[in-house]
């Protein structure tokens, strides 16, 4: 059996970003997607990155995972500089982006085997690891069918599994449950918890505040490219209660709306983008 790498001994900060900036140069001018973000995520945490659509969550994840150049600022992941040592960073992280990145012509098993091979496993070990992961995400039966026929939830779970082939130190999940039915969402939550218990730091973005409340040790709220709140869900709720002198405990929804300057009425009127 293939044994994944040991977790980095003594890794304290899983993610450390200072003054992170991303500008997109488009035909219609420059877009300031991320405007100076500082982050620090400790090893072993489940960290939630919240924000409305277009706030800059995906852009931040892409910079942290070496998929996109950093306009200004620095980022370290698993104690490695993302710009200076992208290849070493890639060995230590797992990534599942907002749009599940799968190849519909392969079967689930083939995709996982290929992924394990790219991370250096031998043929034999890659096969064993694929079987293990198919069990983990409950896709054993579907494993030898083409991905083309998978449901949205199955694709998400397979994408999650493919981010785990090499037992990463830090796992990045961009909106892992958006567009899933409630049952599949709970399955993903369970998996995230299990992965975290095994020692992997999880950095996830979500639009669902309940999800952040349930899963995350600490959260940051980003709005229009800037971090507007950061702390444990509990701390953030208490802060809001004290500031506004509320009697009842506010929900994370209230914290979010307060932080992003949205009222309940305005937020309700916004169309939510759902990506499967």
């Amino acid at each position: 059996m293939w044994v994944g790498r040991a977790k980095v001994p003594g890794m304290k900060l899983a993610v450390e970003a200072e003054g992170l900036v991303k500008q997109y140069q488009g035909r219609s001018g420059t877009v300031d997607a991320v405007r100076g973000v500082d982050l620090s995520v400790e090893a072993g945490e489940v960290f939630g990155f919240l924000g409305p659509n277009g706030a800059g969550k995906s852009t931040t994840i892409k910079m942290l995972t070496t998929l996109m150049s950093i306009t200004a600022g620095t980022a370290r992941v698993a104690d490695l500089d993302v710009t200076a040592e992208p290849q070493a960073v890639r060995r230590r992280i797992g990534v599942a982006l907002q749009e599940a990145g799968l190849d519909a012509r392969q079967t689930g098993r083939e995709l996982l085997i290929l992924q394990a091979r790219l991370f250096g496993a031998s043929k034999h070990d890659a096969r064993a690891r694929a079987t293990e992961l198919l069990e983990l995400v409950d896709l054993v039966e579907a494993g030898d069918r083409r991905i083309k026929g998978y449901s949205g939830g199955m694709k998400r779970r397979l994408d999650l599994a493919s981010a785990l082939v090499h037992e990463p130190d830090v796992l990045f999940l961009d909106e892992p449950t958006t567009g899933l039915d409630p049952a599949s969402r709970l399955t993903v939550w369970d998996e995230v918890r299990r992965i975290n218990e095994l020692g992997t730091t999880v950095f996830l973005t979500t639009q669902y505040l309940e999800e952040a409340d349930q899963l995350c040790d600490r959260i940051a709220i980003i709005d229009d490219g800037l971090i507007v709140r950061e702390g444990t869900p509990r701390r953030l709720k208490e802060d809001l209660r004290e500031r506004h002198g509320l009697d009842a405990e506010p929900t994370l929804d209230d914290v979010f709306l307060d932080a992003t300057g949205r009222t309940r009425e305005r937020a309700a009127g916004e169309v939510q983008e759902v990506t499967v």
């Binding site: 060995r91 982006l97 012509r105 083939e110 091979r117 790219l118």
Partner: protein, 254 residues
């Protein structure tokens, strides 16, 4: 895992996917065969083997076969598969893996090479009834296959640049139309010295001319090393340029 092994693993996947998409392979066999039949059917009586010196005793079909081989090798299907990877997000998954960027370039291109080799063999077999033989023998046939497949990789590699730059299937498809000037500003109907002056100049600057002449010499003559090595040299130089540009684009891909 070395970069070579990674490229091999990615190439295997690309080949498997290609085989699962037969609708993308059929035209690459059918259309070049169609051109061979039409060209031979129209000009076969003008250029007969006993009265035409540049045929070296073979039929006109043998003379025009390289055009068909190069046409088959200039579909650039690899770039369209790459676009699908990009649009579906799978390309990001591969980019996030600790894989040498050169290996990423080669994934679909290796499948293109294998596919091109198989199609070249098929086209040569299909053209045997037209009285074609490979004058340079078995080794010549191997070189013929290798050179055609290498051209397929180079052409698909340049289309891949358009795919990486534009990330648009429409733009990549349009870019592929460059094969018209590339394949027709060549001595494809008659040898270079029989072309009109403007055509001869255009053909001289067109790198495909030298690949075509190399293939043709392998079919019609015993080894003419100058023509053959010139063909390989052109493909090698273009190949290096293609590879360097691809790696640069993938490194800077945002």
């Amino acid at each position: 895992m070395t970069a070579l092994q990674q490229a091999n693993v990615l190439g295997g996947r690309a080949l498997r996917d290609s085989l699962r998409t037969p609708e993308a392979i059929v035209p690459t066999l059918f259309i070049p065969m169609f051109f061979l039949v039409v060209n031979f059917g129209q000009a076969g009586r003008i250029f007969t083997s006993d009265s035409t010196g540049f045929l070296f005793g073979q039929s006109y079909a043998a003379f025009t076969l390289p055009s068909s081989l190069l046409l088959a090798a200039s579909f650039g299907t690899a770039a369209l598969f790459l676009i699908e990877d990009i649009e579906g997000g799978y390309f990001d998954k591969l980019r996030a893996a600790p894989v040498a960027r050169t290996s990423l370039v080669f994934g679909w291109l290796l499948a293109e090479a294998v596919k091109s080799a198989v199609i070249t063999v098929a086209l040569v077999l299909l053209s045997l009834p037209f009285g074609i033989s490979i004058a340079s023998g078995p080794l010549g046939l191997v070189l013929l296959i290798a050179l055609t497949a290498a051209w397929a990789v180079v052409f698909a590699g340049f289309m891949q640049l358009i795919a990486l730059k534009t990330r648009s299937a429409a733009a990549t498809n349009s870019g592929g139309l460059i094969f018209f000037p590339l394949l027709f500003l060549t001595p494809n109907f008659v040898p270079r010295d029989l072309l009109t002056r403007p055509m001869e100049i255009a053909a001289t600057f067109n790198p495909v001319t030298y690949v075509m002449e190399a293939l043709r010499s392998l079919i019609l003559r015993d080894f003419e090393w100058v023509a053959v090595s010139r063909g390989f040299a052109v493909v090698a130089v273009l190949g290096v340029v293609m590879l360097v540009l691809n790696v640069r684009l993938i490194r800077r891909y945002d």
